[in-house]
């Protein structure tokens, strides 16, 4: 049995930031990550980030991940375990872990005073005929294959979804030498930032708004995709079909928070459409209805890596503070972080996030 003040579950942007903040406050921290490396989905982000300097604007995602990992290593009081998945949180405060090693899978237990959960999100899918054919991949999967393993997903791709992820990944496909036949979106407007859309259009990729995917065809692998225009009620209009000979369909229709551990441990949950699904209720310091459980990042609501990092820092500082660790700049830092978060959620694009958060506070 291991003992720690704070257990952080998830080694992505929110978990790394939480571990750094708690480490800085002097708490004993254990950070666990299911994958072989830390950084979460930052490791495949080859594009530069927006936001302010504090959130690493103009730095590429994978470099941000490296910086956070280096910072975690500064603190002797922060221990890390990779290839380690949290299996469950029990009533007596014990968390069970499965650690994969070269030779075997090891079962571990840890008792923590406070747990910060930053488990990220899952990719959504879409219902359409033959949507399970090989060659139909989540947008994140396509990005992982290209940017982490340097493998092309195929020869010719149709992108479903013109949000920021769909636009950015279409551009990254072109950078990898893959043809993009087009981008479709059922909405009448492009959801992502105009800078990304313009870049794509300049490269000669058509964007079809008001279209949805209706059918995929192929024997053991995708060969053809059919799209159709949608009416006011999002139903396909017969006679408007267009066919694309493609070997990859990339589904970029958003993410949903990874909420299993919150359900299992018994946090009060709320379905919030603007945040992508079920999320735990929490106060502004990211403390859930169970006072020893905190949440941060996409598992708190789908947003961006920038806000995940700020949330992680808030959760890490607040959790340590509540355990009695004295960090003299606590008040100043936490106020600054709360303001940063407000800044990130400002403007027209942040409206749905602000609406969402009004539903989960307590």
């Amino acid at each position: 049995m291991m003992h720690t003040d704070i257990l952080v579950i998830g080694g992505g942007p929110s978990g790394l930031s939480a571990a750094i903040a708690a480490g800085k406050s002097g708490a004993e921290v254990l950070l666990v990550e299911g994958n072989q490396y830390f950084g979460g989905q930052l490791v495949k982000q080859t594009h530069m980030f927006f936001g302010s300097e504090k959130q690493y604007a103009a730095t590429r995602g994978f470099d941000i991940g490296k910086k956070l990992v280096e910072e975690v290593e500064v603190y002797d009081n922060v221990k890390t375990l990779h290839s380690t998945t949290a299996l469950g949180i029990y009533e007596d405060g014990i968390v069970t872990l499965e650690q994969k090693t070269e030779s075997e899978d090891v079962y571990l237990k840890v008792r923590a005073k406070t747990i910060i959960i930053g488990t990220g999100a899952l990719e959504r899918s879409l219902p359409f005929t033959n949507n399970d054919l090989p060659g139909i991949y989540g947008a994140g999967a396509v990005q992982t294959l290209m940017n982490e393993y340097l493998v092309k997903p195929g020869k010719r791709v149709l992108m479903v979804g013109a949000g920021n992820i769909g636009l950015i990944i279409s551009y990254q496909l072109l950078q990898a030498g893959v043809e993009v036949a087009g981008i479709i979106d059922a909405s009448s407007e492009i959801g992502g930032y105009l800078v990304h859309a313009s870049k794509i259009r300049r490269s000669g990729v058509p964007i079809f708004t008001g279209y949805t995917i209706v059918k995929a065809e192929g024997k053991d692998h995708l060969e053809k995709a059919t799209i159709a225009q949608v009416d006011r009620h999002w139903k396909p209009i017969p006679g408007t079909e267009k066919e694309f000979k493609v070997d990859v369909l990339c589904i970029s229709v958003g993410l949903t928070p990874s909420s299993a551990l919150f359900w299992q441990v018994g946090c009060e949950m709320e379905y919030v459409r603007d945040l992508g699904g079920y999320v735990p209720k929490r106060n502004q310091y990211l403390q859930t209805t169970l006072k020893n459980i905190y949440v941060a990042g996409d598992s708190a609501g789908i947003e961006e890596a920038s806000s995940a990092m700020v949330e992680g820092s808030i959760a890490g500082l607040s959790a340590s503070h509540n355990l009695g660790f004295i960090y003299e700049d606590y008040q100043r830092d936490i106020q600054e972080l709360l303001q940063e978060l407000e800044g990130l959620r400002g403007g027209e694009k942040g409206e749905h996030i602000r609406n969402g958060y009004n539903m989960v506070g307590f």
Binding site: N35, I136, G138, M146
Partner: protein, 103 residues
Amino acid sequence: MKQRIENHPILDIPLRRKIKFYYNDKVIFGLEGDTIASALHASGITQLSKSIKLHRPRGFYCAIGNCSSCFMRVDGKPNVKTCVERLREDMVVESQDGRGSIK
């Protein structure tokens, strides 16, 4: 190796050691750093298993170990998430039809 990215404006393409493994009794080569699924994909193999009830062809969907669509039998062990399992020399990888069973 026809699906490998050979040059890229942002990413470095390192020289990587070849790793030999077996896929349904065929010898295949992947590269150091590959997962089982990325190595198979690079060799043009995208069907990893068949679905439990209707035995429809299945590839991966999420590639980060969440969706369970990439299960294969590896070194005799069923239901291995091949999208996150690192490739090792001489691994024996077999497609899985339906629910895996322990031989």
